[in-house]
């Protein structure tokens, strides 16, 4: 990171090579339509602020934190809903499960339905779910990245899973 902060192009290219896949997966699950823009913006901020990397956390955690901020900020700018965990009535999501297209159910397009359900979640729940269930991070890492305590991360994850399970229930019979 010191070399990146010093403007070393090769070191930055190596950083991009090593972490693009990881960040693209987070950004894609968060907002598939803007994933590429989100990853580009993440690396731009990482390059511009490389000198602030203290080395206390892992490089991956530092990049995750930037990516999360970029995703949340972008969603705020686009005017998309940023509901807090308690602002959405769980019954709304459960009701939406009836809207799942029959053909999707028949074809077993569970992954596509999961993506759709994921995009219906409040931003923080969605991000905790992505980091924990799809990226395999620990609650400690998630709390560090999102700036919340571990119990809040757990609560967010369980609520996200309950809602997604309700959303996917036609596919889980």
């Amino acid at each position: 990171m010191k070399r990146v902060a010093g403007g070393d192009g090769d070191a930055f290219a190596e950083l991009v090579k090593r972490y693009t896949r990881m960040l693209y997966n987070v950004a894609y699950r968060y907002d598939a339509n803007s994933a590429e823009d989100l990853v580009q913006e993440t690396f731009l901020r990482a390059y511009q602020h490389a000198d602030t990397f203290s080395g206390r956390s892992k490089v991956s955690s530092w990049l995750y934190r930037i990516c999360v901020n970029v995703c949340l900020t972008a969603q705020g700018k686009s005017g998309a809903p940023m509901a807090d965990i308690d602002e959405i009535n769980e019954r709304e999501l459960e009701a939406k499960s009836e809207e799942l297209p029959e053909k999707a159910v028949e074809r077993g397009e569970a992954f596509k339905a999961l993506e759709d359900g994921l995009h219906s979640l409040p931003s923080q729940q969605r991000m905790v779910f992505i980091l924990r269930e799809l990226q395999g991070l620990s609650y400690g890492e998630i709390s560090d990245i999102l700036g919340i305590n571990e119990q809040a991360a757990r609560t967010n994850l369980h609520r996200a899973k309950r809602r997604l399970q309700a959303w996917l229930s036609p596919l889980l019979v």
């Binding site: 403007g7 930055f12 991009v16 997966n25 590429e36 390059y47 999961l114 889980l172």
Partner: protein
């Protein structure tokens, strides 16, 4: 216990954090509460589904677009000063009591070292390709290209090249004395991105995909960055000063590490495989540790 608590305990059990007494309580609830038994079964199916969520493939050329975006918006990415590939390691020399004869002997040694340096430097500078999207390799045996051509002897291998070993013997592709591939019969691999560092002359094979078959890699060039990245449909392997073998069959990738260590990047996690270990990766996301890998050189 109510159904909501049972659900919470089930989530804890998925994470391996349920206590024995909680497990007993959960089991008892499942036996007696028909109202939530379906929901708990759905939770288990949902968890199983999550384990199978595939990793998203990065769009081709994204890395280049990121670098261009940063160069355009973040200022010019300066290139580093040329690295000295012959930099001597820092060694603490003992204090010497030199005699006139000793000074002469040391002078002779230094002169020989300088001569070797210039000869080696000259040899390497004449054999390395400066930059570009092709690298020079020595192919012992013959490989078939996607267009039906044959690669043999001293040849350039270009980015985007797909090669197959259709013979009955293994073929060795030597990029340098310290970076070799052994391509076994019935193997197809794709060199998506190869280049030579314009300053150091180091060869990078930053995106090599094994479509099928077995490739053994010997890579001893590691300095600042891993010069070779090997991928299959299931994982990407980033080695460090390593000898390892990757076998790709339909739905299964087998990695066996003989020396050094290899970082394995999967959908949901990254881990390292050290020398003497192997790992089998299956298409449904499963990871099976293999028995101790045998010492094997390509």
């Amino acid at each position: 216990m109510d159904c909501s608590e049972a659900q919470e305990l089930l989530y804890l059990s998925f994470e391996g954090q349920i206590t024995p007494s909680q497990q007993v309580a959960l089991n008892a609830h499942r036996r007696t509460c028909f109202a939530c038994s379906t929901k708990l079964q759905q939770s288990e199916k949902f968890q199983a589904l999550l384990r199978k969520v595939p990793q998203v493939t990065v769009p081709r050329g994204l890395e280049e677009r990121i670098l261009a975006h940063v160069a355009a918006h973040g200022g010019v990415l300066t290139t580093p000063r040329p690295k000295n590939v012959f930099a001597f390691p820092k060694i603490a020399f003992p204090r010497l009591q030199l005699t006139p004869g000793g000074v002469l002997a040391m002078g002779g040694v230094l002169a020989a070292a300088v001569a070797i340096f210039f000869i080696a430097n000259n040899l390497i500078s004449t054999t390395l390709t400066p930059g570009g999207s092709a690298v020079s390799a020595m192919v012992q045996g013959s490989l078939q290209t996607a267009s039906g051509g044959v690669l043999s002897g001293q040849i350039p291998i270009r980015s985007g090249e797909t090669v197959r070993n259709v013979g009955k013997a293994s073929v060795v592709v030597a990029f340098s004395p310290n970076m070799l591939l052994r391509v076994d019969p019935a193997t197809q691999l794709h060199f998506a991105k190869v280049y030579t560092d314009r300053y150091t002359g180091q060869i990078y094979i930053s995106d090599m995909h094994i479509d099928r078959g077995t490739v053994a890699v010997r890579e001893h060039l590691h300095r600042d960055a891993s010069p070779i990245h090997v991928a299959t449909t299931l994982a990407t392997f980033v080695p460090t000063g390593t000898i390892f073998t990757v076998t790709q069959t339909k739905g299964l990738t087998h990695l066996s590490v003989s020396q050094g260590r290899v970082a394995v990047y999967l959908t949901r996690k990254m881990f390292e495989v050290r020398a003497g270990r192997g790992v089998k990766l299956v298409a449904n996301g499963g990871v099976l540790w293999d028995k101790v890998a045998k010492k094997r050189k390509p």
